[in-house]
């Protein structure tokens, strides 16, 4: 339904959203982890193609989702939105540390990887579930190449005592950006069976406090209150 940028008088963050979009879910997940209330403006992307309607193109000329309006500033796409949310609403400074150059560069790199994952695994999923045009074989092959690299990175990270994509000792927006297209990959015909380190990492992401799922993503079993074997929870 058509809305304008000044439709509401509320101060609440507005998120232009499509429930089944992996990139929109990325933003909804970050909002949940930061415990930020927001107003969801839901578009009928499929099958209604509402993201191509004139009222939305006036807000987002590329028709791209997710789009966020926070106090009049319009942000498009995952990297810009995650940068903004962590800059404005993360007092801990842990989700996107600005003082550690190594971590900052790592985050930039992984945000780019998340874009690749959405363009391969994500595109395969949209092709298989919403009939979006794609070179499906190239998408799946590209996804497997990325998953192989991701699994190797996570395995060696575990060997060094790290549970997350960046060696920061806690999750960052790198993990949040990469998680959705990875977690939804089977809807595009990409099995995660050959990627056991990825599968352990997705469990860890699901256990982050205030994690929220979406259709097709299920919660992980909680860890025991006190370890019975003394074994670390990651390999």
């Amino acid at each position: 339904m058509p809305r304008s940028l000044d439709d509401r008088e509320t101060d609440m963050i507005k998120l232009y959203d499509f429930e089944l979009s992996a990139t929109c879910y990325t933003v909804r997940l970050m909002l949940s982890l930061l415990r930020i209330a927001f107003e969801r403006i839901e578009l009928d992307v499929y099958p209604g193609r509402e993201h191509e309607s004139p009222w939305f193109l006036a807000i987002s000329p590329s028709g791209e989702l997710p789009v966020m309006n926070d106090g009049g500033g319009v942000l498009t796409g995952v990297p810009a939105i995650l940068e903004h949310l962590t800059g404005a609403y993360d007092p801990s400074g842990r989700w996107n540390p600005r003082d550690e150059p190594g971590v900052r560069h790592g985050i930039a790199q992984w945000l780019a990887v998340a874009g690749q994952l959405n363009a391969t695994a994500g595109a395969a999923r949209l092709h298989d579930t919403m009939f979006q045009a794609a070179d499906i074989e190239a998408c799946r092959a590209g996804a497997h190449r990325s998953f192989r690299a991701l699994d190797e990175h996570l395995w060696f990270a575990e060997q060094s005592g790290h549970d997350w994509l960046c060696a920061a000792g806690h999750p960052t927006i790198a993990d949040i950006a990469c998680f959705p297209p990875v977690m939804l990959s089977e809807e595009g015909g990409i099995s995660r069976l050959p990627y056991p380190a990825i599968r352990r990492w997705t469990d860890r992401v699901k256990r982050i406090p205030h994690f929220t799922p979406m259709s097709g993503i299920f919660n992980a079993a909680p860890l025991a209150a006190a370890p019975t074997s003394g074994r670390r929870t990651s390999a």
Partner: protein
Amino acid sequence: MAAGYTPDLVERWFAVARTEEVVPRHVVQAQLLDQEIALWRDDAGAVNAWENRCPHRGVRLSIGLNTGTELRCQYHGWRYATGSGQCTYIPAHPTQKPAATMRVARFGITEAHGFVWVSLGTPAGPPQGPATGCEHATTLRSIYTEASAATIAACLLRGYRFALDPLGADESSPDAVVVAEDAYTLRAKSSHAGEREAAVTFFLQPMGASQTVIHGLLTTHGVAADRLAVLRHHHRQMTALRDAAESR
């Protein structure tokens, strides 16, 4: 399940995962001889290898919840006890005791030499180990390969390289002799002067006709000063092996 596979493949152990990767409250998704397996460890430390299929509606148990004492199917919440695989609770009928016939199919499972081993049959003895005289053993990263075990074995028999080259100058020239103990167990023994009796034993896990997992067990007399460098060296060798096998 294991249809079309000869008894010698069914009645033996195959390594399917490194022990330290079957972590608490997690379900590993594995595949052996075209059989998908849900592999999980209970809170007491015991491991289970179950058919990856809920007896109710066939949903994969590998997306289910490992509560520490049971697997809970994601679909309707049916619960299956560790060990027996017996259904213990059906949320839609909370006061009824589930029928004894509602049980997940289970496979033989054991742990040895740093790996979890599964058999689709009932082997007589334990899995064969590295059989080297070395005190120290390190499991290497398992490499998932789009190739048959036979192709991988043929590539491996061409040689393997132990020596870490600090300058990275000649990582490709083999310096170790490789022998096959059987079609799925091969051993590379170092002939490098400083690596007395060091060996890597490769355990091949046939996922299916053209998919194999290459597991590696490095045995040495001393502990390496830079453990990560050693892991990365063998990882480079094993991914080169994978690339060679996949391009055949």
